[in-house]
Symmetry: none
Subunit: 209 residues, 4 copies
DNA sequence: GCCTAACCGAGACGGTACGTCGTGTCTTGCC
DNA sequence: GGCAAGACACGACGTACCGTCTCGGTTAGGC
């Protein structure tokens, strides 16, 4: 999660209430589920949190940034446990990510915020920092394990390694998001298995000549 | 494009202006590029089109429907030409789709509409009909060609075939969309080549043991 | 009263509701009595009038102008009846003016608006047009009657006549306002009689040597 | 000036800064001139005075009281010098009072405070003590001189004498204030002469039959 | 060639939310 | 305990759009 409340070096004056931060983020998630993105209003969030509107605006510049922060913490839940094989690790991550995207607050928020970010570079950076980069780490960890197990070779060129990690991340996250939000179909164990097989063996693997 | 202007059976009185329809859709796309989804307002579109707000609301029930209609036509451009091999066909589609997503009106509109559709089932259906299903056809055509060339086997189980097509579509479209909109990196020829290699040969193919 | 709703020469579009004007001015006077100037809010007036805030702002640029208009009409009540003598006419006007200033909406509004006008020339003009000039006419009419009765001479120099009328108006209105609002004492018949005697005969008249 | 800073009997701890008091009152007068009553804010005064808002509120309970205190001192300037005749004395007072009302801080403050006092009895008392009563003394002194000179008779009934003094005060102050603030015309020597003539000789005197 | 119904532009309407400002209170840590 | 700094709850501000409504005026069909 992003470190908010980063006290300025000047430490005079009454400090910001940490409780307010918590209450606001909680209220934001609740309002998001109940009302959806477009009906969510700053005034309503403030009221739910028992906080003045000014307190919101003192901490977040816009609805977008507030929602990113409110939702970002949810993405910290995904972890990559060692399940003994590369395929099993991938399936695990896919299913965890899918479970996250099925929660209404996450689904609504992620898409809305990404949509808004097509126009707002600062917001895109915030999303990258708060959500994307953190998940990219999972790909790296999974690869290391697979390399340790001998399932994947070590890549000598570090640039190529980074490029590959990015590619794999886009493929995994993109496929899950697209399936869930655009095609609007569930990501269940069967799909995860099929996807993993495709990813590991390629088109030839699932439907070779 | 969706048929709007479904005249009521009673055809007396002055007919609706076709020019207005054109001007409105044009103005909508322009406003979308300039302002983005959330700043786009009906009043502004009306002013750009030289039309009264009433005229907009007489034709479209909401901002969402107007924008979907205004943008849907753009997605008809993608075609799949026979480039001689499965890999070349995939690369071609990926690059065309990426080119489309680089145009600001498409990028903005697609994400915004998808985001809104997480809350609005009717909108989701409209998107599926107007955009998604049409593109899924490209996957089917590409597979047929690859099968004819002997690059891919024929799948005997038609259900499994459909499942696979859906999977592949989600992987291709998802990866391109995620790369473009979330990772915010360009989809160039190098990336398309790398992605195609991964898709065809799998992780083992790009970084085998 | 000021003519509001002066339709622009361009007469297209829905015309402004005359009923709204009435309701708003009524609501303003009511709110003024109940809450006083400083607690009176535009939102509250709008709610009382059953009208949207925008409707208020479409007609009046500020709280000040609204209140001036709302109160101005009350000052039209004062009339100068022929009571047979200059002194009786003056007493009548003084008592009517005092009665007006004892009504809470008038008292509050007049002072507040005058106070605000020390900083706002447009507002001062509005007050002059809406309230002051109209009352100055009473002085002129009273003088004519006194001249007709032979109580006062005809002034041959028209400029001097105007100067005198202004002076007399400031003395009458100023004394009543000061007594009521600054000294905060009632203007009763005794005071009116004493004031009139002073005005007609001068200091020498009430306490001659 | 009113004594503020009435220290509590408990005199332990750091004493209040006298410099702060001065700076605050100075800043208040400056802000009043620049911004007018309604735009003057406590936060702004505090900033101008280089003082925390807390310090203001520790000394004055509200904006009203602060402004009255800040301005009251200005009204101490008027004096009545013996100019040899009743008329000359009146003219002198009128011109001094007018000069005072032409200073923007006085004009603004007087009207604003009076306006506010129509709703606030405590404030009215404060004004009476700080401003009005002090000026009423000038009327008494002027009358004494005129009586000593033989221009005015001695009034045997002390109650009637007081009534007359009040009346004359309301007439003088009221006329000057009304001319200056409502009619928004200058009080120059001509006007002062005309007014004095009217006051001394009455309507018959300036325009007799 | 006239009628008339549905269209059109303009813009006022009742609402809702916005993001900002001012109020008076409070909570820090320093003096 | 005074004080500067500044966060806090509250409430009004004036603006921007929403989607609806009422105007006067236009424009094609059908008669």
């Amino acid at each position: 999660m992003l470190s908010r409340s980063h006290r300025s070096p000047n430490r005079s004056g009454r400090p910001r209430s940490a409780a307010a931060d918590t209450a606001i983020l909680l209220a934001t998630r609740a309002a998001l589920v109940e009302l959806g993105w477009s009906k969510l209003s700053m005034g309503d969030v403030a009221a739910r949190a028992g906080v003045a509107k000014t307190t919101l605006y003192r901490r977040w510049a816009s609805k977008n940034e507030l929602v990113v922060d409110a939702v970002a913490v949810l993405f910290d839940e995904i972890e990559i446990h060692d399940r003994g094989s590369l395929s099993a690790d991938i399936e695990g991550v896919v299913l965890q990510f899918a479970a996250l995207l099925e929660r209404p607050e996450t689904k609504t928020a992620l898409m809305a915020v990404v949509a808004e970010s097509t126009r707002d570079d600062a917001l895109r950076d915030r999303i990258r920092t708060a959500i994307v980069d953190r998940q990219k780490g999972l790909v790296l960890k999974g690869r290391e394990r697979a390399q340790a197990r001998g399932e994947l070779a070590y890549e000598s060129d570090p640039e190529a390694a980074a490029r590959n990690a990015d590619l794999i991340f886009d493929v995994i996250a993109g496929a899950v998001v697209h399936r869930t939000l655009v095609s609007a179909e569930r990501v269940d164990e069967d799909w995860a298995r099929g996807f993993t097989l495709l990813l590991v063996t390629g088109l030839g693997g699932i439907q070779g000549p």
